[in-house]
Symmetry: C2
Subunit: 408 residues, 2 copies
Amino acid sequence: MHSSAGLPLAARAADLVGSVIDSSTSLLASQTHDIVRFAMGAPAPEAIPTEVLAEIGAETIGAGAHAAFDYAATEGDPGLRAALVEELAGTSDETTLERLTITSGGMQGLDLACKLFVDPGDLVVVESPTYTNGSATALSYQADLLEVPVDDDGLQVDVLEDLVRRAGRTPKVVYAIPTFQNPSGASMSLERRRRLLDLARSWGSMVIDDDPYGMLRFEGEPLPTLHELAAGDPLVFSVRTFSKIVAPGLRVGWVDTAPELQPLLINAKQAMDTCTNHPLQRLLARFLEDGHLGAHLDTQRAEYGRRKRAMQQALEAHFAGRARWTDPQGGFFLWVTFDPAVDTEALFPIALAEGVAIIPGNAFSPSKRFPDALRICFATSSPERIAEGVARLARAVDRLAARTSGRS
Amino acid sequence: MHSSAGLPLAARAADLVGSVIDSSTSLLASQTHDIVRFAMGAPAPEAIPTEVLAEIGAETIGAGAHAAFDYAATEGDPGLRAALVEELAGTSDETTLERLTITSGGMQGLDLACKLFVDPGDLVVVESPTYTNGSATALSYQADLLEVPVDDDGLQVDVLEDLVRRAGRTPKVVYAIPTFQNPSGASMSLERRRRLLDLARSWGSMVIDDDPYGMLRFEGEPLPTLHELAAGDPLVFSVRTFSKIVAPGLRVGWVDTAPELQPLLINAKQAMDTCTNHPLQRLLARFLEDGHLGAHLDTQRAEYGRRKRAMQQALEAHFAGRARWTDPQGGFFLWVTFDPAVDTEALFPIALAEGVAIIPGNAFSPSKRFPDALRICFATSSPERIAEGVARLARAVDRLAARTSGRS
């Protein structure tokens, strides 16, 4: 047997970086002790409307539903596309059929955006911290990444402008998660959203507007999406998904783009997976047509608000004075920064042994800028489990500190 | 609104070619008159085991099945991977867990192979004719394609050797569909299979062994797959799918590769779609565990054999002396070549108006070498409908001939 070094790998193979988040899925599945799951950005198991999906499934993909098992159109099942256009009418994500293409999760939206716009060596701006798989996708297209810091008002657009000036070249793509950002939970202010679009226009850069959590606001006033603010400017490429609002395992999302991009998206997607799975598109179409989404989101928002507050209370009880954390108004994540510094990569296995799963901060930065931070997801666990999980985390931090001082 | 010409497209956007096959899905869906469907390579609607799938679905992805709606492991649902390893034990596709990665249809297997092995400008060998989306995927990675002719014994390996010598450089990848080839229906002889592997070893080329139809043999003696003949040589990258043997809408396939490639495949797939849809992986796992596949394939093979013979009889009745066609021993397709020549691209809309859908030969050649050929799928229609469809095709050919002579 040759080693893979003997195989004729493409140059980009060296840029295919692993994801701590996804490898955690397999790692967690192999654990046999009780673990509080703060790691994955997944809805609570009880938040997935399996009863409704089972009832609809029996009708839409049951006996005799041969068409649902055939290939779907590459741009998506017509019923799902029509239902989505209707569902989004009047919202900040309003769209039309010719702007809407169904994708295999939001992740494929990012893959398509890079396929269409990123040549090797192109400059791609990412937030710092950013979504691991988002930066990994840009890297898989051999992009040069420019990390721009995020604060409580989201991407620091003034720093972006300065860094681009210093780079001496303009970005091909700016990849932003403007609302309840993954992993920080921060939302970009309205002023920064407008300024980002102005800069992108002046540079001729595409803006990937990745907004998986925007419908999950439980506090504060809604902000217009970059999609809405762009008012049809083709430079904004919006990526959306059912993963966080219905269920991630469905692998169904959509992109909203300039209509002239749709033929290219179809060609690109045909060469990726032909079409998105058809039965679960039908299931989602019926879920929307029957009006389930609105009520489902109302329930989820209230519950996620409760859980965020439970997480903050538990952090306050265990970490007041030795860590800071963000205060998101929606979404799934809190970002915790330790002060004095805690090596969160060293913390990870200790926390897992204590029975709590987190993601170390460095997973969210290609240049590993966050060794003393971590992401915790408050969406997956009940308030009681959250309290227990944070208590376990505190024990893990204490164990790490004891080990570190014992070594010094 | 800018036109897409004003957008900062990547160089590869110019190489994203459309697929006549996939656009036919949308075109056919919009037709209101009766059409016999010889175009798509899809199983017969009645061949899809919807009753069994519905029964299993009610148990595996029904109420309370929260885990099935969560993210799956990127390499695939453990239950499905284990069931596949067991199902394939002792067959020509025998595999192990560390060689097996679940993909979103066979198409994603091709995308992954190109992601790992094709740099822009690399030479990629494709059969001529070949599967449209296979060559399109290589083009989307900016490969230089080398078309090598196929005859009744499949890829002409001696011509391949000669063309590579004349090209003055060795291929990075050879993309082959060795069994019941799409679109010709031909199978590569054992001698050619062995010779192809020898050549690939001597060149250090990867061989993509795309074999979606191999389990659908209804005549003749089985041939070992390239995977089996390679006996673990890491140069063979095998792509398989449930699309033709169970249902294409599921979008579940698998690749069998050298174990050392699996970590790279996982990284690459994470940046494509995170994981393959989870509920339908569970459905297929149960379908295999309950032993449904064997009986299902037995039924399908017998039926597809009947349909191929019905297709050949109808062609004999209408086209004897003015066309030739292949004699596949399995799979879905016949390849018809007209003599004297018939412009099958001009024939396409006339045939559609007459009520029969076919795919013109040029769709299967990047350099459009088959203007007088067409692909017909015998799998989708009953013998009666096949007779009707071929009669309609004969009328369309006559109408085209009348129009052509009227113009001359």
